[in-house]
Assembly symmetry: C2
Homo-oligomer: 416 residues x 2
């Protein structure tokens, strides 16, 4: 805890004694028996008999007492053409376990045989190549921790008080990605003069494809084959995906089979019919790559019900596609006053950053908000400021501040 | 790649053209058909029909083409009293997926009901407490990425040429750990004058317990309830473990139920009968906490067989309990010459650090070694230097340099 936060709590002697629900002090045996809790003098069954053997299964699973899962955002039009969100309200730190990384597919998850899969690179290059996975595994690798966010995360319209964080912000995850830098491969094949854009195409049945500018391709993009230590999961592009840090998730084309270098954008359907926004003046806002600074409070959040008043920690996540998060401020009164939150280090570029603020809930209503500033000085806007520029016909890139209303009875819902 | 490494390879025009096994160039269709690979003009079945739906299952699993698992080190004397190793030779980056984190249990994995579990803290404290999980979840939290290594990782005696990395170094993993700093709880209960040691006791049937000095307890130890974002796995101490960074893994007592503050070490069986080493002069080397600087090459490693000669990257892991890794050197000739490897950032304290060195295997024999230096200036010793001080009756804390012999036929085995 930062010294100033400790000072703010200085007249309160203890985190736990103020938490009326906490089992403070000893002499708890009677309460324990009444609630089914293990009392200080009781030896529970699990301490009396040996537990389960090791390595069963060899690839481990979560506790049966934890039942986290991804959930479809909306009913899919077609099996496999949908998205599922990460249950961020139940997660800690910055790493998303691979089993809970959000999904967005356009034609389901293909079952690609890795030994038969190839990556072709052609177009405006000196030496077109077709690569195997083993070729890529031998090349110089990098590993970096980055967030991935769908540009459609947090709908522009239709906000519901009942939203959980999984529903409002769940198309956001963060992993350590390993693979070959795209710039290494571009140097290998030799980019011809005039080259300016690259088409990336997936091997799924939708042939999902996007154009990315050459500058962006050379700014840390990775031909990724591993995620959080192990090979990619099928729903994350196994055996190979493009990973482009800091920009809308759809550029990180999964099941990557082809890269074509050209002199202009390829204008695929994913950049005309989708992933482009209609502005109030009737123009199209196209190739809106960067994910601008954004933050959200994860604890407490929608659907939660606070118990007894007392100390608790406000926690959240902040991120920006423009480098590092510089500052996060938190308000508990709907934006009238703001306090600086503590950022958990290391604060990495184009990565989730965890923030925390000590808070004592007095039992009355409160409106919680967070606001991120990145190292370029960009400040996360509120919704009114965002709508003033982009109107209400937008679908993508809603990075507005996001409020949780705490009711007097402790119920938490989305408002503001 | 660092500029100097690129310079070393400067007279070689390409990573891939030198890899005779690489599918360089176009016109590959005939080869593709012969090998079952997908040719440039072929549209594979998985690109023609929609794939599997999203969120099935809601908690995802690895690809069926990847069959990594933990394996028991030695046949257990008793079900559940054994260890299983992480398959480090198949992993990338620094994060270990939770499903592959190594295990070491003394009486199996207890099935603890989280709502009934309690943590008691007593002894030389002003205000003894019994805490629920919910109490801890409300307190100020931290999240940090740290390695965890069993002090019995890498046996002193009985090295086998056939060792895989999972067998020689698999009791090593690395995760983002989240929980309450032990120092926060110690401040909460008020440590009495004279207090110097803390007993940590697990709720498993073995009542696994260790003593740790108060200074160590205040040096970043965490009452951890989450690992890589999600709640602890059962085999990692669900619902609560002590996590003490930088020291031998057994101090990070799983299924933590009790902390007792005292004025001297508690001399549990785990610090008399175990986790203590017999020195050549007959004395006992006891309370050997810190894991000293160590490194190992993960690619190529034991059991692998290199294919055709050509470019490949030597990769490995380095770690130290004394802060950050400062330097890793790699030798390909058994230690005659050493080259500086590139460290993948961020280089975090008491965390795995990934290192890399470009290498061209010429097809002849080679002996690969790595040597880590930490920020205190401590240099990883070779085995002879370690044995000169500690003798051969030791069992724990073997951090010697570790060699892989590449035979002329490309086979890789442990030697030196």
């Amino acid at each position: 805890m930062p010294p100033d936060a400790l000072r703010r709590l200085a007249h309160r002697r203890s985190f736990l004694r103020l938490a009326a629900g906490a089992a403070g002090g000893v002499g708890l045996a009677a309460t324990a028996r009444a609630t089914g809790a293990v009392g200080p003098l009781e030896v529970p069954q699990w301490s009396r008999t040996p537990g389960a053997p090791v390595a069963s299964p060899a690839y481990g699973q979560p506790s049966l007492f934890e039942r986290l899962g991804r959930r479809p955002r909306t009913p899919p039009h077609f099996p496999g053409a949908a998205s599922t969100g990460t249950p961020l309200q139940h997660l800690h730190g910055i790493i998303t376990p691979n089993g809970l990384h959000f999904e967005r597919h356009h034609a389901g998850v293909p079952a690609i045989e890795p030994d038969r899969h190839r990556l072709a690179i052609h177009g405006l290059v000196e030496r077109p190549l077709v690569l195997t996975l083993n070729d890529l595994l031998r090349m110089p690798a990098v590993s970096r921790i980055h967030f991935l966010e769908c540009s459609g995360n947090t709908p522009w319209l239709g906000a519901k008080p009942s939203w959980t964080l999984q529903e409002s912000h769940g198309l956001l995850s963060c992993s350590e990605w390993t693979g070959v830098e795209l710039s290494t491969l571009l140097d290998e094949v030799g980019v011809k003069p005039g080259a300016a854009w690259i088409l990336a195409e997936g091997a799924d049945a939708s042939g999902m494809s996007r154009s990315l500018p050459l500058d962006l391709a050379r700014d840390g993009a990775i031909l990724a084959y591993a995620q959080n230590g192990e090979r990619l999961r099928p729903e994350q592009g196994y055996p190979l995906r493009l990973f482009v840090p800091g920009v809308e998730g759809n550029l990180s084309v999964k099941w990557l089979r082809r890269l074509k270098v050209g002199d202009q954008p390829f204008q695929t359907r994913e950049e005309t019919a989708k992933y482009t926004d209609l502005m109030p003046d009737g123009t199209a806002r196209q190739f809106t790559f960067v994910m601008e600074a954004k933050s959200v409070i994860t604890t407490p959040s929608g659907g939660e019900r606070l118990g007894e008043p007392g100390f608790r920690e406000i926690r959240g996540l902040a991120w920006t596609g423009r480098g590092r998060i510089a500052r996060v401020e938190v308000s508990t009164d709907g934006g009238a006053r703001w306090q600086a939150a503590t950022l958990e280090g290391p604060v990495l570029p184009r990565c989730l950053t965890r923030f925390r603020l000590p808070w004592r809930w007095e039992g009355g209503p409160a409106q919680l908000l967070s606001r991120a500033t990145d190292e370029t000085g960009y400040v996360q806007p509120d919704r009114a400021a965002l709508v003033a520029v982009r109107g209400t016909q937008s679908f993508y890139h809603n990075n507005a501040t996001f409020g949780w209303q705490v009711a007097a009875d402790g119920g938490v819902s989305h408002a503001g």
